[in-house]
């Protein structure tokens, strides 16, 4: 019994950055914007959070700095894709390269130093869980949620009704960036209180997949991230104890992402995607 409880707690902990990042991405994508740059924004958030905490500021400030770093990167995405109308997918990819690069470069002086004042894991986990419930409420029971969803489904109609499509999309993208940044801060302040280059280990990409996997639904995202959390837990738990090579276990989450996406595709569930996902909106254009 204790074993199961322990496994679940660890899984929840592993799943926390995934849940935070994918909740942000759900809000962003519900407004019609795809931002594949989560991995890069997470790395920037992890570094910003660690750097601020390391300088002696309070952990609150560290988390805030992480969120702001994510927002800054997300606004860059908005600038490139909305003002300059660049392809959202490629922009996200570039943002990942840029985020990983800048974080690796500016983080070099911090590498290998421990944090004296580390954050607890559970407030992040609890916060992420509550946020999922709150987002569910906002999406389906408030006017703001309706506005967000209609901008993602049919921006032209939303525009006609007097909604500011561009503003909604910028705010949603920024929100996604903030949460990706906080997901990074969870890694560098609580989960493994330190900064190492590449510490996001592809979690950002798993979060991108998780959004599709959970059908853009915040409550299902809780289950989805718990599922991948269990997977990461098993990977550590089973190391050396079973006949399966370590490398196979390590590759498992990534391979499973593909399998899960294929299953979703086979069942035609990608119809849940917001109608205008990834499509830029210009007034008077179809």
């Amino acid at each position: 019994m204790d074993e199961i409880l322990n496994a679940l707690t660890r899984a929840a902990s592993f799943g926390t950055p995934l849940l935070l990042a994918s909740l942000g991405a759900i809000v962003c994508e519900r407004s019609g914007v795809v931002n594949l740059g989560i991995e890069g924004m997470m790395a920037l958030g992890a570094l910003a959070g660690f750097a601020v905490a390391y300088s002696g500021s309070s952990l609150w400030f560290a988390v805030l700095a992480a969120a702001l770093a994510g927002v800054a990167a997300a606004l860059l995405h908005a600038l490139v894709t909305m003002t300059f109308r660049a392809n959202q997918f490629i922009a996200g990819l570039a943002l990942t390269m840029l985020g990983l690069g800048v974080a690796g470069l500016l983080g070099k002086p911090y590498e290998g130093f421990p944090l004296s004042d580390t954050a607890l894991e559970w407030p992040f986990t609890l916060g992420a869980g509550l946020l999922a419930i709150a987002l569910y409420g906002v999406f389906f029971y408030t006017r703001a949620g309706l506005l967000l969803r209609s901008v993602g489904e049919n921006p032209a109609a939303a525009d006609v009704l007097g909604m500011n499509v561009a503003l909604v999309r910028v705010l949603a993208t920024a929100f996604g960036g903030a949460l990706a940044g906080i997901a990074g801060a969870f890694l560098s302040l609580a989960y493994r209180p330190s900064w190492t280059d590449g510490m996001t280990v592809g979690l950002g990409w798993v979060a991108v997949a998780l959004v599709i996997f959970t059908g853009w639904h915040p409550l299902k995202a809780v289950l989805g991230s718990l599922f991948f959390g269990v997977l990461y837990y098993l990977q550590f738990r089973l190391q050396g104890s079973v006949a399966v090579p370590t490398e196979v276990l390590a590759a498992l989450p990534y391979i499973l992402v593909i399998v899960v996406l294929a299953v979703i595709g086979a069942r035609g569930q990608q119809g849940n995607a917001p109608e205008s996902l990834g499509r830029p909106y210009r007034r008077g254009e179809r």
């Binding site: 594949l36 890069g40 860059l76 600038l79 490139v80 300059f84 109308r85 660049a86 392809n87 997918f89 490629i90 922009a91 990819l93 570039a94 943002l95 990942t96 390269m97 840029l98 985020g99 990983l100 690069g101 800048v102 974080a103 690796g104 470069l105 500016l106 070099k108 280059d197 592809g202 990409w205 991108v208 997949a209 599709i212 090579p245 490398e247 196979v248 390590a250 590759a251 990534y254 391979i255 992402v257 593909i258 996406l261 294929a262 299953v263 979703i264 595709g265 086979a266 990608q270 007034r283 008077g284 254009e285 179809r286």
Partner: protein
Amino acid sequence: MRFTPLLNPSRWRTLQVSSLAVIVALLIVGIVFALSGVNPLTAYWEMLRGTLLDSRGLAEVARRMIPLLLIGAGLTLAFRAQFFNIGAEGQLLFGAMAAGAVALFLPITPLTLPLMFAAGALAGGGLALLAAWLRQRFAVNEILSTLMLNYGAFYLMLYLIGGPWKGKNVRGFMYSDEFAAGAQLPMIPNTLVHYPTLVLAILLAIALQILLTRTTLGFELRVVGENSSAAKYAGLKTSSIVTIMALITGGLAGLAGVGEVAGIHHRLLEPGQISLGYGFTAVIVAWLARGNPGLTLLTAPLMAVILAGGDVLKISLNLPFRIVDVFSGVMLLCLIASEIFITNKLVWSRAVKPTGSGGAS
């Protein structure tokens, strides 16, 4: 301030805008240099001095250019067909593994090297084909699948060199036995430039340009990418065209992997040592070439200078190699953001014509 469309942008304009985008990117990276406490002018001077103005540096540029040219030329085709293959890194590793299998486990004959290239191309092409099939059959986004397959290839290589293919006399190290002499590519003396692969890369870039612009298949590929509904209407077999494209783009990445292990390392070793992120840097090579395989002959050397320059900065200014990712990210952002200036004119007046009169466009 607004954009008005230009109907037929000239090539001259494309060149102007692209060059300007690269310059803006270099300025932005300069700011990043300054942020990390390095004088940007010093950094750029060091990069230039250590690469283009130095004979050994030039050889390093040539060495880095080989995989970039192969992968980049293949990627231009993929991007033309709207297939965003981000998995060249994994396809390169698959090529390296296939070459390793031939070199380590088959008898060495005069045909060993050609066989290694063939096996590598098949392995890399096969991996890209898997992603293409997943997209067509199950609507799996190819950016995600190819990225995840990169991780798969990474761990597979680690497993092989630490397990079944681990060398007999390497003790604690993670690599395979050395390839026999008959499975090694010749190099230009005193450099790491394995020239057979270089020649192959140049020929393939030219061949792909001819394929794209002078053959029916190339025409069909462009139609599928630019207007998929028109392609369907014209009765084109989209799936077989995408299949051929995936085999070419992955196959070239596989060839790059063969070149790296047969030309430079002469054994299989840790993935991070075989590729320095060539698969990702080549995305910029292809994008900068605006979908023209032939133009990668110009853009691959440019990115090779940046990769080789990253090495120089690591040694002379103690900067982490991640600076290359900063270059890649900023350049890609600037390039995609600049595209609108090719097809549109920037108008500064505020006067806006009433919309709707033009009808649905």
